[in-house]
Amino acid sequence: MACLSAPDRPSRVALTPAEWLGRAFAIVLLVAFALFFVVPLIWLLIAPTKTDRELLLDAPLAFGSLTTLADNWRALMTFQSGLIWTWIVNSAVYCSAALLITLVTSIPAGYALALTEFRGRQTLLAVTLVVMLVPGTALVLPIFLELSAVHLIGNPLAAILPFSFFPFGVYLTYIYFSTALSKDLLDAARIDGAGELQVFARIAMPLATPVVALVAFFNFTGNWNNYFLPYVTLPGRKSPIQVGLAELLSNVPAFNPTNAASTTISLSSLALATLIAVAPVMIVFLFAQRFLVTGLTAGGVKE
């Protein structure tokens, strides 16, 4: 494996047969998995340019035509008079409202946990860690029961508020501030007469851009892709796009032949809808590409 590279070894040393085999095995594995991860995505990019017939008969990775893409687009947009846009707008509203609240709550909390002393600090930190590791879905039904007890089901707040509870963001901020800022630096500012709020606003915040971006990234992408919670708390037209997507599925005759509804969705329109649903997160991924691959994301893959 190390034989793949060895940048500091004198190059062009003849390979033993075992090394050669090892290298070949490694390359085959890397290529095979690259295909595994990428081929479905390429297919998804191509499928909306085809008719259902072409999807079935043509080579799977052959491009259809732009006219077909336009047709599929129109068909999708006219489905229940543009319901898909309602879902997209819902997602955008829920996720951005939640993002705002998350930043306002978790950045100061992480700062306080890292750099100030108050009673209950250790407990709050421990509880945050534990809750952070509990999968979000574990609390969905209890949260549903709670929200239904206060009659919030169907209200946008039923997504926005739970989406804004983001212990992982608090943890990230806590780690960031406790490693990137020293108490001495803050003390120096205090001795110069800066008040506590000024210390936060003038010294900590200007240095916090990376962690704000990180928290925003995980919060937004996680919420955009969240299915279970809004599925139970925001049914029907209030749904975000992920829930809507699954809803579309029941209007695809190929999957539900018993469905006699007059408005149906073709397979290629469903593929197009999937593509539209993931587009915002894809775009965020492309922009965040540089930091995503460095390993800073440790733990960010929590569902």
Binding site: C3, A138, T221, F228, N256
Partner: protein
Amino acid sequence: MSIRPDPAASPARGGLRQSADHRSSIERAQRRLGLAFVSLYSLFLLAFGIFPLLYAIYLAFTKRGAFAGLTNFAKIFRDYRFLPAVEHVGLYLVVWLAGLVVLVVVLALIIHAIGTRWLSTGLRFLYYIPGALAGASSVMLWLFVLDPTVSPVSFVLHALGLNNFVEAMQSNRLPVVLAVIAFWTGAGGWIVVMYGALNNISRELIEAARVDGAGPIRTAWSIQIPLLRKWIAYMVVLSFAGGTQLFVEPRVLSQASRGVVSQDYSLNQLAFLYAFKQSDFNGSAAISLVLLVVALILSVLFVFRGGLFERT
């Protein structure tokens, strides 16, 4: 972190007395700010972390508002759908976790060994992108991939003896199918995490092993993997806890396969049916609580024993 800075260590300005006053007033201000800063977050923690848990406990142990002891639990354990659901989730976890640990570690080691920078970065990014499709959209895409009539890899499916979508959804294949989907969306993220952890292993250590004659496999087995242990444990704990929560995947597959995948395939689906089909919130809370307790135990053990959060 809990040790206060020693007052004597910092240069005192003005008289000693004055400086002590000043310091304690700073400490008071800090306490106030600290509390103010965590207050909003603490509200959310109470409302969407602690309270739902307490409410689930309350519901699970009551029936129509009266204390019911363990009857709700007895009922769900006796439910003919409960054990099969446990078995489904268990099988899926075994397949998925085994595949995840082996493949993620091997792929991360290989990618880490690549000397060409753009290649290593590019591969990590390629492996990571499917993460953008977490949730319903990945299952939606895999519906197509697993349908031999439209799949881009229909030759693979045919080679495996799958000639139509329903065959691919047979219950004995489902744990593997679900594991493949989960791996496709989640593995890239973990590969990147492991890669980051591998970067933290000192070069001298690896160099010393090579001087001592260790080949790449020996180095990986005796040095790199043992040093990754904490991270592997982290991955297993999070994935296990997340995996027990299986919901979206079987739910969408069930919808798409005309019931070939049953509606009560996983435990969370069963909890969902209790709440929404049978209007039995107590039974639903009991199932949720069982799952939640598993996740909590794992999480507490890991936070206090796992060694990854030592700084606290």
